[in-house]
């Protein structure tokens, strides 16, 4: 049986050595969980991956939760998640402490002045990539447009946009598509 420390250590490594967000962790997770330890089959891994993307929350933490739970129950889930996010927390904590000292430092300010517009570009680019995978067509493109305008110009909380989408999608699926399927 897998020990909880082994789980902790595996997810600690995965969390420490992937730069650039949760999805960057996928190849390392696969290598560690499927190839190296054989804790999951390739098929199980893909299933948990799909589930973690579907559920709300942070993708990498969701993965760690479910894998830990599958292998060692609740305790396994707790240790896997903590292992996964411990190093990122400590690193940002150290940086936050440091940044409070260098705030207003002209070198740091000059660097960030150059970086800020690039960050905006890095957020804007996935919009166009994701529009393809989300199957945006001329019939449904009003959904992302309205969502963006509500949040951007009318200060509507993204929470309400999510809630409205879930309710709307449920009603449409149940009453419109459901009827089409039976008639």
């Amino acid at each position: 049986m897998v020990s909880i420390w082994q789980l902790f250590w595996s997810f600690f490594k995965i969390g420490t050595f992937t730069i650039g967000g949760g999805y960057a962790m996928i190849p390392l997770m696969e290598k560690e969980l499927v190839d190296r330890h054989g804790w999951l089959t390739e098929e199980e891994f893909m299933e948990i991956l799909a589930l973690s993307q579907t559920m709300p929350g942070i993708f990498a933490a969701n993965m760690a939760t479910y894998v830990g739970w599958r292998l060692r129950g609740i305790l396994g889930a707790v240790f896997s998640v903590i292992g996964n996010i411990l190093m990122p927390i400590l690193i940002i904590l150290a940086l936050a402490m440091g940044l409070h000292y260098v705030q207003g430092n002209p070198v740091v300010e000059a660097i960030f002045k150059g970086v800020r517009p690039v960050v905006v570009a890095l957020i804007a680019a996935p919009v166009f990539r994701m529009a393809k995978t989300a199957n945006v067509t001329r019939y449904n493109f009003w959904i992302p447009v309205v969502a963006a305008l509500l949040i951007w110009l009318l200060d509507v909380s993204p929470i309400w946009v999510i809630v409205a989408t879930v309710i709307g999608g449920f009603l449409y699926g149940k009453f419109v598509e459901g009827k089409e399927a039976t008639s």
């Binding site: 992937t18 559920m55 929350g57 942070i58 933490a61 300010e109 989300a134 909380s157 999510i162 989408t165």
Partner: protein, 192 residues
Amino acid sequence: MIFWKLLYTFCKIGIFNFGGGYAMLALIQNEVVEKNGWMTSAEFTDIVATSQITPGPIGINVATYAGYTAVINAGYDPAFAVFGAFLSSFSVILLPFIAMLVVGRYLMRHKDNPIVQTVLSYLKLAVVGLIAAAALLLVNPETFGTFAESPLQLFLSIALFAAAFFASLKWKTSPILLIVLAGVVGFVVYYL
């Protein structure tokens, strides 16, 4: 009290996040910058940049930073701020953690249900809008500069934005490389 507020806010951010780190940014921006004023728009952008070149999910990185800063700004000692950072980070994953354990198995069995599929396909569409909003909200004087204050900064910002946007979309250039290059440009132009 600041600690309850952090717990509540980051629980909310965690459970209403669908569609990955970038989709989370609009939500975090709305709660952390606009509603609670725990950091400025520029600080938020800086922490997103930092999160791209350090390990860990963007949501955890921002929660840690916001937790620390919010407690310091409320006038507490750094020791309490460290607690605030951990509290915020754990709050983000708390409700999804419970949801994964309670609903995960159930959803795994019903993932092919047509209603679940319809809801998910609409969520994907809304998430595209959420990310667009996150980008649009960050196009402001704090991140791009103003013409009145420095025409050079505004023009350079637009050029850097366009170059990074193009490189990221066309050549899938690594975000780390783009951020480091922009940092070098910033240092050379604005400091030297």
